[in-house]
Symmetry: C4
Subunit: 240 residues, 4 copies
């Protein structure tokens, strides 16, 4: 089937097709954004809905062609990008009943393809190497982070519940406060007002920041390490 | 005593028992969380209380068996995990008078055991090596951090007390402001309104962030260092 | 033309002239700042405007002399600093119609010249090397950052729109929330109030901080790397 | 003068004296803190004032003895710690007229002595080495940080002044917003409400965080470097 050439990125038709799909991805995301505006009239909304439907059909066709084209069909279908492609076109078959709006969010996943097309594959590989280097540390820190989040949530509930029974009505409010505080976002919708709660906040911040903020530093230093490994490999391959 | 086999992690019964205790730890923490909800009726609260009591009794039995099983009994009792196990079952013997709710917090400490069971012991060891590498720097920075917190607290009180006598009523309010500001949480419940207070805030942030935020970076780079040391040791042991 | 000596930084007259221009840059920025004060009377505003006009004329003369002095005239005109110099004096010829106040902002660009004069050229070169080392990673992370910002914006709009239709009226409000949250600024003007929105915020923070905060760490570690490269080069040049 | 032995840290009397002065420093800082409480009666305030006066007299005596004891008197007087000691006792001679409360702040400087006594001198030296390694970069980044702060302040004033004339009344309000935003504190007392102001905030945060947050990473990585240099020196001294 010569027409499947459009998937061969080495040929001109393939590049044009990739560009067209890229354009549709970005266009469909812009449509998604426009639909959120409250000032849009019902007629325009229907027009947008129809446009989205047509784009999804094109994505669906692309999905079918990709299956037809790939040599190991099952492998593509159950690969990460294959599953994303399937999820993205799911709304085509779920129009009745299910809430389309959540499913629309799937389409954002196609953005990942933009990165695949870009020439930054070496930087992404480096990032994957970095993740595999620091994987264990990041998992341990995430565990500690959840542990500290829970301790913070339970502690602040314990100290503030009697003073602000509506603000800290259960441990869930404490958890929300802990997330906003230990990530240093600090919206200011919930905060301790008792002396005990404030002292507890100070203590948990001293310990907590040293745990919650470390993964960021770990990723950064692991990328540096990954870059160093790459240079070492290049040197070795030059020597031999 | 053959029945003590349940503590031998190499045997199947031991593994099952460890899993059961793990389940109880998580279950008791979920119970703790549920109890904080205000909508729970008195009858349900009593049921939860009784459930917690039974779990504590199992923890108490486990504690006794662990003592019986360990060869150096005193060493276990005064070890870190032994003391945690004792603290956790303390509410069993303190029912009258003392506030049970604070003591319930002790149970969170048992979460640490989950980590022990997990296979991430090498990452934890690396984290301990990192802490011992950066120990001195972290202590020096903590000292400087407390110094800057105090200077910030005294300074903001000095500049804002006359303009906002209720918000900055004493140095303690200044300290609360300093904690929220230098960790960059910034709830927005207390902030300077005078020009002098705002200039002071700007200056203390330039100096303070360079002190309060550094420990996080130190931990991250020390972990990188610890990983490098490990690789060096592995190379050395391979050579010899 | 002997009078062009004022551009020769090796001669005393050249240094004096550079100092004079530097003084005018800072003086004109101070004038810009003073003009923003609402308490300034109309008469003073006119005086400031006239002063600014005279300074621009001097900058214009300097621009002409620089062209006359440079050997490759076109190259200077289209160089980065040449274009800045042209932009800065643009308000002289655009007095009617166009809003002067925006154009005045151009003048801030001349601040860059202060750095050129300073002796920190080696640190700036190191910073440029660091940027070129980490360029790919930073671009990949910026892409991921924009991706996560968009996902966060769409998600929070989806979860909060029905509960707070005025606060989250479109995806733009979601984007504003996402910027304030993922940079951990957290003003507190917009924040989720539904349980689903709060859980979504927690999840997006765990993933998002590991993406949005990493570029900072990358720059810092790349500068360290650039410094190491410099030392290596110095050693190599000493050996030979 | 045998009684000057109290300054010889090798002798028992010297150590006792150092401990006594340390106790007085901490005691005087606690007194400073207590005085800020509004609930303290006039009688207690007078008592605290008298106590502080006595402590200052002891500090004054210590200052005189230190001069008498030191071999190069002028060098001590004009050394950093000598000037601090002089500043601390300054309130003794400035009781009339000048505001004692600001001068009291000087006393915090004596806290630095606590660090000198502690055994963490090697970590402090490492920190000094790190500062000298990263000095140029930190200065360049501080310059850029001030440049970005100014651009942010001028920009936000330009975009928000007409919409919020009271909140952003001059560039100073813009500067206060810029400090609170680029350090990610985000109190929430001032924030943009116009679309243009919000887009500007997003852009300035992308660029600004990469500048304002970098010095922290630089300090952390320079300390790691300083530690490595130390180990290298130790190896070299072992070899020879």
């Amino acid at each position: 089937m010569k027409f499947l050439n459009i998937f061969d990125p080495k040929k001109k038709t393939g590049k044009l097709f990739e560009g067209f799909i890229l354009f549709l991805i970005i266009f469909s995301i812009i449509l998604m954004s426009i639909e959120t505006f409250p000032s849009i009239s019902e007629t325009h909304k229907q027009l947008l809905g129809r446009l989205e439907h047509y784009i999804l059909i094109i994505f669906g066709l692309e999905y079918l062609i990709r299956i037809a084209r790939s040599e190991k069909k099952l492998r593509y279908i159950f690969s990460f990008s294959g599953l994303i492609d399937a999820l993205v076109i799911a709304p085509l078959f779920l129009t009745s009943g299910a809430d389309l709006r959540i499913l629309r969010g799937y389409r954002l996943l196609r953005l990942v393809q933009i990165l695949k097309l870009a020439k930054y594959s070496s930087a992404i590989r480096r990032f994957q190497v970095a993740l595999s280097i620091a994987k264990e540390e990041i998992l341990v820190f995430l565990f500690f982070a959840f542990f500290i989040l829970f301790v913070a949530a339970y502690g602040i509930f314990h100290f503030e519940n009697s003073a602000q029974p509506k603000v800290f009505s259960s441990i869930l409010d404490g958890l929300w406060w802990a997330v906003a505080t230990l990530t240093t976002v600090g919206y200011g919708d919930v905060y301790p007002i008792t002396a005990a709660g404030k002292i507890f906040t100070g203590l948990i911040l001293v310990v907590g920041l040293g745990v919650v903020a470390v993964p960021t530093g770990l990723i950064a230093s692991a990328i540096t390490k990954a870059r160093a490994l790459e240079t070492d490999n290049q040197r070795l391959s030059k020597k031999t």
